[in-house]
């Protein structure tokens, strides 16, 4: 069957599709090690998406693991109508949405400055950008980031996912639609509303 509309050229690469189809066959036949290909290929992309949404490295790590385990368990249901990456993105978006709904994040989404260094993990502290001009300017940067974090946190999980995929991940409308299971018009409507809410929250930055 053809790709879902709007899948990116990277996802719709026919060589990759064939290769992945063959590897999926091995996974379905009971070779769990064959699944390593998918983990190696997509773990960074999945982690990046999840991290941008939850802003906590330890939580993003745990969720990324869950997403791949869910994908492995559901691989029998994957019909190959979409690219594996699109299907995996959908699992990721749903997993993050469920996680956000189920519980408050371990560390506040808005508390960006301290969130990246997590005790008991090997995760590094986030690279805190400074332009080196002055401590005041650095403090202002941190303040702006915290405000953006708060503004994103105020969006619904779906709106946040759509906004992040568009503006942080630079995915196309159609890719976002495929990953969230909604049509292009609704994606645009969510994007517009999310941006407006964000602007309202950042009103005083002008």
């Amino acid at each position: 069957m053809n790709d879902l509309p709007g899948e990116s050229s990277r996802a719709a690469d026919p060589g990759r599709r064939e290769r992945e189809s063959e590897i999926l066959g091995r996974v379905r036949a009971g070779d769990p090690e064959a699944f390593e290909y998918f983990v190696k290929t997509y773990q960074r992309k999945v982690f990046r998406l999840v991290y941008t949404l939850v802003r906590n490295a330890a939580e993003a790590d745990a969720l990324t693991q869950d997403i791949f385990v869910k994908a492995w368990r559901a691989v029998g249901d994957f019909k190959g109508e979409a690219a594996f990456e699109t299907w995996l993105n959908r699992i990721a978006v749903n997993a993050v949405r469920d996680s956000v709904r189920r519980r408050k994040p371990v560390v506040s989404f808005a508390d960006l400055a301290a969130a990246e260094e997590v005790e008991g993990t090997d995760l590094p502290r986030a690279a805190e950008p400074t332009d080196g001009t002055s401590p005041e300017r650095d403090a202002q940067s941190r303040q702006i980031r915290r405000r953006i974090g708060e503004a994103l946190e105020a969006l619904s999980p779906r709106q946040r996912a759509i906004f992040v995929m568009k503006h942080y991940e630079e995915r196309s409308i159609a890719e976002i639609g495929a990953a969230t299971g909604i049509d292009d018009g609704t994606v645009k409507s969510h994007l517009f509303r999310a941006a407006r809410k964000l602007r309202q929250k950042l009103e005083d930055l002008r």
Partner: protein, 182 residues
């Protein structure tokens, strides 16, 4: 300067365009320092945040990704082993093992099943009294029927009884029939 200042929505659309591809720069923004500053502030804030996210991902060492992979594949291997074992184990053994592994659950289930059976038995006992009482009522009505019958009904009954008696004495009349008809 050309026209009015940009509205909030125009600023939002400028920084977070919904449509793909570059949006044209409004004439007013090109010449108005105030609107330029508003757009720039929002865009800088967003780009700063996006840069930090990218920075976090890029600063993660190779060991982190390797450890994450090991954790994922380890969980998958464990699940695959459990599934393979369940497929290989015949049903009765699987059932017995599950009882042995979770005795509290097994006894709880048994107690629940017994309670259900008891409940159903009581319930059925109650509903069965209905038809029995109904049958008794029908019998009583049947017994008292002759008293309430009309003259026509009584004549019909007598006719039926006489037919019955003829049929029951048919064997004795058989001897009167011609031989070819017997």
């Amino acid at each position: 300067m050309s026209g009015r200042h940009m509205t909030e929505e125009e600023i939002v659309n400028r920084v977070f365009p919904v449509d793909e591809g570059p949006a044209p720069i409004p004439m007013h923004q090109a010449v108005c320092p105030e609107c330029q500053q508003r757009v720039t502030k929002l865009r800088e804030a967003f780009l700063l945040d996006r840069g930090v996210v990218t920075g976090v991902i890029e600063s993660l060492p190779g060991d982190f990704w390797a450890a994450q992979r090991r954790a994922i594949l380890g969980r998958i291997s464990e699940l695959a082993a459990v599934e393979a074992e369940e497929k290989a184990t015949p049903f009765p053994a699987r059932f017995t093992r599950s009882i042995l592994q979770r005795p509290a659950l097994a006894f709880g289930s048994l107690a629940a099943a017994l309670a259900l059976v008891a409940g159903l038995t009581v319930l059925r006992g109650g509903t069965e009294s209905g038809p029995a009482a109904g049958a008794a009522t029908v019998a009583a009505v049947t017994a008292s029927e002759p008293a309430g019958l009309s003259a026509a009904d009584r004549e019909d009954d007598e006719l039926l009884r006489s037919v019955d008696s003829v049929l029951s004495s048919e064997a004795s009349h058989e001897a009167l029939l011609p031989e070819v008809m017997r």
